[in-house]
């Protein structure tokens, strides 16, 4: 059985949280560039140009593109034939987050307790998600997610009679209510099905897909496109100042569900979508 020392996981996480904050991924750069060609409002175009200037400065000076360097979401896909050695995996991931945020001069935004509210000063705890997959590799996906867009996210347990029309209405209303608060043009992660908790996770995982990559199921890919068109009718535009590009993409992930249920979760991501991955 292949062995991997958890120190390698910590080092990879430390590197990924910094890379994510300093350099926008190619898929997001492409999506913003496409948005510039689609945006009709002059003020919207001005905002999009500022965003391009911003990520160019961030990359060349190695400073965070946004001051909210986020909560570290760490998705681990662990091969079932891999043996992790050398210590506690959760501790190693948190050690990597602390190292990356401290050495990279990233903002520490995490608190010890939601009511007591004392800053932990190293941006831990990370949000860690583990999937066991075939093989002997470890894939680490990191998303440093800002609080502004996360706060605009919603979950609703719809009655089955609501159907696709009801789901669509809820998703569009959630995006409209988020408006400028969520730093549009946004990326809309949607989870449909599962149960209360799986649905929220589906919405979050939908954001991991490279921006604009359609759902492999053609029916769901068509619904993603339909939603994107509905959202871009809202007129919200870049930073909510009015325009024709409110979202860069809508990604939907689905799962089977109980006969009584139609859970729908909307996890909103800002234009500054910072995600990076590595396979060890």
């Amino acid at each position: 059985m292949r062995e991997l020392h958890v120190d390698q996981v910590a080092d990879a996480v430390a590197r990924l949280v910094q890379e994510a904050n300093f350099k926008l991924s190619d898929d997001v750069v492409r999506a913003l560039s496409q948005a510039k060609s689609l945006e009709e409002a002059p003020v919207g175009q001005t905002v999009l140009m500022q965003l391009v200037d911003n990520y160019t400065i961030a990359e060349s000076e190695r400073v965070p593109m946004c001051q909210d360097t986020g909560v570290a979401l760490v998705f681990l896909e662990i091969g079932q034939d891999l043996h992790l050695v050398g210590g506690d995996l959760t501790e190693a991931v948190n050690r990597g987050v602390a190292k990356g945020y401290t050495e990279g001069y990233l903002r520490k935004s995490m608190l010890n307790d939601p009511i007591e509210r004392i800053n932990t000063r190293d941006n831990t705890p990370a949000m860690i998600y583990i999937d066991i997959v075939p093989g002997d590799k470890l894939k680490i996906k990191v998303d440093t997610k800002g609080g502004g867009s996360e706060n605009m996210s919603q979950l609703k347990m719809l009655p089955p009679s609501a159907g696709w029309e009801g789901a669509k209405q809820f998703i569009v209303e959630t995006v409209a209510a988020a408006g400028p608060n969520a730093c549009p043009p946004m990326i809309v992660g949607v989870g449909i099905g599962g149960n209360f908790d799986k649905c929220a996770l589906l919405a979050k995982k939908a954001l991991l897909r490279d921006v604009g990559t359609p759902n492999p199921n053609p029916a769901w890919a068509a619904r993603e496109q339909e939603l994107l068109e509905e959202i871009n009718k809202l007129g919200v535009g870049p930073m909510g100042l009015g325009g024709t590009v409110t979202a860069l993409a809508v990604h939907i992930e689905v799962m089977g569900c109980h006969i009584t249920a139609l859970p729908v979760a909307v996890n909103i991501e800002c234009h500054s979508h910072r995600h990076k991955e590595v396979t060890l």
């Binding site: 500022q50 965070p64 593109m65 946004c66 001051q67 903002r107 809202l234």
Partner: protein, 197 residues
């Protein structure tokens, strides 16, 4: 819509001159404050203690910057979402603060307070923290150092770019801008402004 250059502190006349949709270019000293700092300022006032800065004509920027790298004045410094300060903003305006800068929608109470006290709500481009930091020439913590990124800092800015969303006359640029681009068959329409003169 106009481009207006202002230098702090802001006079009552200047604040009333700024209209929704105007580009407002700010030079001078501005103060940073976020959720935790606002909570503490309001507690200080209730306990009879003065604010940590002179509020008369002051500008508050809702930002929690990243730590500066060695040799830098400040790290990344874009606006945070403003609605979390809604509970505290009317009191800040009552104390004499004239401009507040953040991003996103404000409550009806804040919009009414802007009309009542003659202030304006401005936004800067969210997420453009590296770009906006270039307009910041100096930064020093003036209060609540224990709050870290949320401490109150005095920033010296030169030509900081903002756009007025809500003015002292009930104007609302989010409504105006979105109304112009919303499609007739959109599932949700922009929310009309409520406060007016």
């Amino acid at each position: 819509m106009a481009r207006i250059h202002v230098t702090t502190p802001i006079t009552p006349e200047q604040a009333r001159q700024i209209r929704a949709g105007d580009e407002v270019i700010i030079t001078g000293e501005i103060y940073t404050a976020r959720d935790a700092a606002h909570k503490r300022m309001v507690e200080d006032l209730a306990a009879g203690r003065p604010l940590p800065f002179n509020p008369e004509g002051a500008v508050i920027y809702y930002v929690g910057p990243t730590p500066p790298k060695p040799g830098q004045v400040i790290g990344s410094a874009g606006p945070t979402t403003s609605y979390r300060m809604d509970k505290y903003t009317p009191e800040m305006l009552r104390q004499g603060v004239k401009l507040v800068i953040g991003k996103g929608y404000r409550s009806d109470e804040v919009k009414a307070a802007l009309v009542q006290y003659g202030g304006a709500y401005l936004v800067a481009t969210g997420g453009a923290g590296a770009l906006l930091a270039r307009t910041i020439e100096a930064a020093e913590v003036v209060a609540y150092e224990d709050l870290g990124a949320e401490a109150i800092r005095r920033l010296r800015v030169k030509d900081f770019p903002a756009i007025c969303i809500n003015d002292a006359h009930g104007g609302d640029q989010y409504f105006a801008g979105q109304s112009q681009w919303v499609k007739p068959d959109a599932m949700v329409k922009p929310k009309p402004p409520v406060a007016s003169e």
